[in-house]
């Protein structure tokens, strides 16, 4: 399929980030409004559009709305290819207003830390016991507060998946089921999935994350020992589906030099 040497998979036919992109794309259903975000989700939106969700619409907080994926790889949502032939270019509030109305079906986020209830921290990190100042929320808190489903992508290790985040930049399920409602957050909103480099986590009725699927070549033991709390495992644990040929073709067309999808 390719001459480069992908890492971290049992099969060697695709990289872990390509698997994550395909998994993220499958979180987008046809016809949905999607808050796309940066990096891997930008590629996932293109994959979804060109495979199973041709009717999805992408919203970007800088004021861009697209019915078609951008014609070139994006490094930021404000890159000129993301504006060319957009279906709409306006201001931030005109896009954020749709989010606050509850019309956005799914929003994608990254994070430095996520905890067992899906709360996210992108403000204060911890490196070897030292507090590290991170860039902050951007639009993350808005997406986590207001979109119907929030999907988080991040690397899987004990520093990133922690029992309790040190700072809630973006609210997940707080301390469990019912917390969001108590805070006054919209009823139809909240965390839906965490796509990591090792598996996919979803949320139980109590608002706590559990392991729903493991990626090919990863054992459940690996996942558990790399998670900062005692992670529950689904009774019907799945293997994360591998990206199929059509998905891989789109990913490699969008990111031919593997800028975002190398490892």
């Amino acid at each position: 399929m390719t001459t480069r040497t992908p890492s971290g998979t049992a099969t060697g036919r695709f990289s872990r980030s390509e698997l994550m992109v395909a998994a993220a794309a499958r979180e987008i259903h046809d016809g949905e409004l999607v808050f796309v975000g940066m990096r891997l989700p930008m590629i996932a939106f293109g994959v979804a559009k060109r495979t199973h969700a041709p009717g999805a619409t992408g919203l970007f907080e800088n004021g861009v709305i697209r019915d078609t994926p951008a014609p070139e790889l994006l490094y930021t949502m404000g890159d000129p290819p993301n504006l060319l032939k957009a279906s709409y270019c306006g201001d931030m509030l005109s896009v954020m207003s749709l989010l606050q109305q509850g019309r956005v079906n799914v929003g994608f986020l990254g994070a430095a830390e996520v905890d067992r209830f899906g709360n996210l921290n992108t403000t204060w990190g911890n490196r070897n016991g030292q507090q590290v100042r991170l860039p902050g929320s951007g639009g993350a808190c808005d997406i986590a507060s207001l979109s119907q489903r929030t999907v988080v992508l991040l690397e899987h290790n004990r520093q990133r998946l922690v029992s309790r985040v040190g700072h809630i930049t973006s609210p997940g399920n707080g301390t469990g089921y019912g917390w969001r409602r108590e805070q006054g957050l919209p009823l139809r909103s909240g965390p839906a999935a965490i796509i990591t480099t090792m598996g996919v986590l979803r949320y139980g009725e109590d608002g706590e994350a559990y392991l729903a699927s493991v990626h090919p070549g990863v054992s459940v033991e690996d996942v558990l020992s790399n998670t900062g709390w005692t992670l529950r495992v689904a009774d019907d644990l799945d293997a994360t589906p591998e990206p199929d040929a059509a998905e891989l073709a789109v990913i490699r067309e969008i990111d031919p030099d593997h800028y975002w999808t190398k490892s």
Binding site: F60, P80, L93, D142, S145
Partner: protein
């Protein structure tokens, strides 16, 4: 020029000298990753301004540079870093180690920052929202206050209006009176212009008033709000200006690599800002071939609209 419409065209040096004193609250980077007024920020650094409050949703690396240069005592932003490369090291050094000086951070989200400017633009003390409920941003930012809705039982957050002293907005084109046209993603630019006490427009092109008047929908900053107009082609590099030049991705990565350590940043700021007298000198340093590679490869003109009657 129409009779009565005085030209506000001045040099960047003069615009900053007259309208951005030390201690100002300045909003920049209103269009997020597009059209960031780097040339203005660099002139502020060269003029040695101190104790600025920077206001913006995300600033890419401009805020990082101004913080590293010691111009800033407070940042009110949703995000400070390097959009395509990650961390802003000057921001980190300032917050974690008070290098080169301590800064106060007031953490917003993109939406709360947009609403803060919108409230000021509307002339009201706050705007209501659901965002940040349950978050630590709400607990730590005194400009976000929870309240009960007076018309139903809901809990909401009041985002306090933010009225900057000056907005510096990079645009594609303007006339000499400051009527400015911009297109692409607008971010919070329109509200920033209305919320601020003064506006400095930095334009890629200065055009005749007739050009502006031909398409009033595209005039997003009316000239009477504008205190100064600066003609500064390439004034947003390394950020992109739709229809003029692309984003210099490599520049952002080089900045990231070269400013990891303090002495690296000091070398960077000396080379690209302190020892550069003007934007022309900056472009000379950048080199023709690098600029050529960023020029528009294929123009994509919109179809004119008809304002006839």
């Amino acid at each position: 020029m129409k009779p009565g419409a005085a030209s506000k065209l001045v040099s960047m040096q003069r615009a900053i000298a007259e309208h951005v004193p030390s201690g100002s609250m300045v909003t920049m980077g209103a269009q997020l990753e597009q059209m960031i007024p780097f040339a203005a920020g660099h002139e502020i650094i060269r003029q040695g301004r101190l104790d600025l409050t920077l206001v913006g949703p995300i600033s890419d690396i401009l805020f990082d540079q101004m913080i590293g240069a010691g111009c800033v005592s407070r940042v009110m932003a949703a995000w400070v870093g390097n959009a395509s490369a990650g961390m802003g090291y000057c921001f980190r050094r300032a917050v974690e180690m008070s290098i080169p000086r301590a800064i106060e951070t007031v953490d917003h989200t993109n939406l709360t920052l947009a609403l803060a400017l919108h409230a000021a633009a509307m002339g009201v003390p706050f705007m209501p929202t659901y965002t940040t409920l349950g978050s630590d941003l709400l607990k730590r930012n005194g400009n976000l206050r929870e309240f009960s809705s007076p018309v139903n039982e809901e809990r909401l957050v009041a985002v306090r209006a933010l009225r900057p002293d000056v907005a510096i907005l990079h645009v594609q084109r303007a006339d000499a009176a400051g009527n400015a046209q911009l297109w692409g993603n607008l971010g919070v630019a329109i509200d920033a212009a209305r919320a601020s006490r003064k506006v400095i427009v930095v334009a890629e092109e200065i055009v005749a008033p007739e050009v502006i008047a031909s398409d009033p929908n595209r005039t997003l900053i009316p000239g009477f709000l504008v205190a100064a107009v600066v003609h500064e082609p390439w004034g947003a590099h390394p950020s992109p200006v739709q229809g003029y030049y692309g984003r210099d991705h490599a520049f952002f990565h080089e900045y990231h690599d070269q400013t990891r350590e303090l002495d690296g940043f000091e070398r960077w700021i000396k080379r690209w800002v302190a020892e550069v007298s003007s934007r022309d000198a900056y472009l000379k340093l950048l080199g023709d071939s690098r600029a050529d590679n960023l020029r528009v490869r294929e123009h994509a003109l919109s179809v004119p609209v008809d304002f006839g009657f």
